[in-house]
């Protein structure tokens, strides 16, 4: 494929973007990518611009000294640096191990979306454990729903659960 900017050279940099729900893909040659500023995001680490998949992780190539990119996944041994450089995860567990670091890149690729659709039979360790506040608010809305349909038995059970959880925080 030829570069979409100059139309002369082979495109070696491929950038996918979703901005405000609009998906687009840009294919650029080395020179145009550099000229248009797409090379800059790699300047901090000296990564190879032609490595197309690394384009998904500009956050880490834009020099963030506070982020430890040498951390390794205990399952497959892949370091986060390798993930950034190749654009590839080493195994399914890498997603939970590196989740906090991945978050900005994931939301840039996918927006703030979470999965809807088919569910698999097997679940890996969740990338994000459900937050305490979310659990309480879910129980409270379930309680309201139970009261609305006059299912008082369920409502009583839910109220006890909420009390137990909220009591737990007070004591703990």
């Amino acid at each position: 494929m030829l570069c979409q900017n100059c139309g002369n050279a082979e495109a070696t940099t491929h950038i996918k973007r979703i901005v405000n729900g609009e998906a687009s893909q840009i294919h650029l040659c080395y020179n145009c990518a550099e000229h248009l500023g797409y090379a800059n995001m790699f300047s901090g680490f000296g990564f190879n611009i032609s490595n197309m998949l690394a384009n998904f992780f500009p956050e880490f190539t834009r020099a963030l000294p506070s982020v430890d990119i040498s951390e390794r996944c205990p399952t497959c041994g892949t370091s986060f640096e390798e993930v950034v450089r190749s654009g590839m995860m080493g195994c399914a567990d890498c997603y939970s191990v590196f989740y906090d670091k991945l978050k900005p890149s994931l939301s840039r690729i996918h927006g703030r979306a979470t999965h809807v659709g088919k569910s698999g039979a097997f679940e890996v360790a969740p990338v994000e454990s459900p937050k305490f506040e979310d659990t309480i608010s879910k129980l409270k809305s379930d309680l309201q729903a139970a009261v609305d349909v006059q299912n008082f038995e369920l409502a009583a059970k839910l109220r006890d659960e909420i009390n137990a959880l909220e009591g737990g925080t007070d004591n703990g």
Partner: protein, 335 residues
């Protein structure tokens, strides 16, 4: 047994084929970049074992190292595998039904790419085929899945449903009218990508385009397919309207009948020239002026490609010999 591309499909005056591909990774194995060839074959063996038990006789499993170069390229020409899949053979296995409508690329980018191919616009049916196979395999293989991120894939761009659905459209009239850039722009706003199937992105060989979904996270399989289907149908309508318009032009009529003459009479023809002429002839077929069934023309898109012709004749043909064989086959259709 007939291959899927020899059959008739819906809207096949414009839509050549439908493909649904689902990426999956097996629990307990690293992703493909971190697997040895032995581990890759181990995954293929597990798939074979499950399919032999649950769907005996339906699938054939072939390690790519046992496949000759012409056949490998032919598989890619017929969209059964990606060009990447045949860029090297070690560790890779193709599992497929005899008619090639349902297949699994083992250890391409992800452990499994379950793929269904059907003629014409058949998105629901293609998804159902791939989905059923996915469910059967998931029971035993257990695919890596996270509630929040969906199916986990080697490349983070594919997480979620990990499904790519695409339709191949032949758009000679919209291309001649210069409507493709506008169309590509519009579909991009709707989360889809329109790109050339062979050759240049904006001006592909034979006006063959691929329309596919881009978003995999936050949209269900059904919603993605419904979206792709409704936009495909709208493009089909636009193409049909433009074809009718074109037939009013004497200049186009001249191009049409010359193209028809080429296909009916040529003694030597390249794949590119065949595709260009065939795309134009499609407009005449739509107008009822040329009596050839669309499925017979569509089938030629797959069977007339160079490596596929080599495979049919059992040898790597000299280019000129191959162009002559191609012309002969096309004349048979136009008799």
């Amino acid at each position: 047994m007939a291959k899927w591309y020899q059959l008739q499909g819906a809207e096949n005056d414009v839509v050549i084929s439908t493909k649904v591909a689902i990426a999956r990774n097996v629990k307990g194995y690293n992703f493909t970049v971190r697997l040895t060839d032995d581990e890759k074959y181990e995954i293929a063996d597990k798939i074979d074992e499950i399919l032999d038990g649950k769907l005996p006789g339906k699938f054939v499993s072939t390690p790519m190292v046992e496949v000759g170069r012409d056949l490998q390229i032919s598989l890619a020409e017929r969209n059964l595998v990606s060009p990447e899949f045949v860029s090297f053979s070690e560790g890779r296995t193709l599992v497929t039904t005899e008619d090639e409508s349902l297949s699994i690329m083992v250890c391409e980018e992800d452990h499994l790419k379950i793929q269904s191919l059907l003629p014409g616009l058949e998105l629901e049916k293609a998804y159902e085929l791939a989905d059923t196979l996915d469910t059967i395999l998931d029971e035993d293989l257990q695919f890596s899945f996270d509630k929040k991120l969906g199916y986990l894939t080697q490349c983070p761009t594919n997480i979620g449903t990990a499904m790519r659905a695409s339709v191949t459209l032949q758009l000679p009239a919209l291309s001649m009218r210069g409507q493709i850039p506008r169309l590509a722009n519009t579909v991009a706003k709707l989360g889809l990508i329109l790109s050339g199937a062979y050759g240049e992105a904006d001006n592909p060989i034979g006006s063959l385009f691929q329309l596919s979904n881009q978003v995999t996270l936050g949209i269900s399989e059904q919603a993605a397919i419904e979206n792709l289907k409704s936009i495909s149908l709208s493009i089909v309508e636009q193409e049909r309207a433009q074809r009718i318009e074109l037939m009013n032009s004497l200049k186009f009529q001249d191009v049409l009948w010359r193209s028809y003459g080429t296909l009916k009479n040529a003694r030597v023809i390249s794949f590119g020239e065949f595709m260009e002429s065939m795309a134009v002839v499609k407009v005449g077929v739509a107008a009822g002026e040329i009596a050839i069934k669309n499925e017979r023309l569509n089938e030629l898109i797959f069977t007339m490609q160079p490596a596929t012709l080599n495979v049919e004749y059992g040898q790597s043909l000299d280019r000129q010999v191959r162009d002559a064989k191609r012309a002969e086959k096309i004349r048979e259709v136009f008799e």
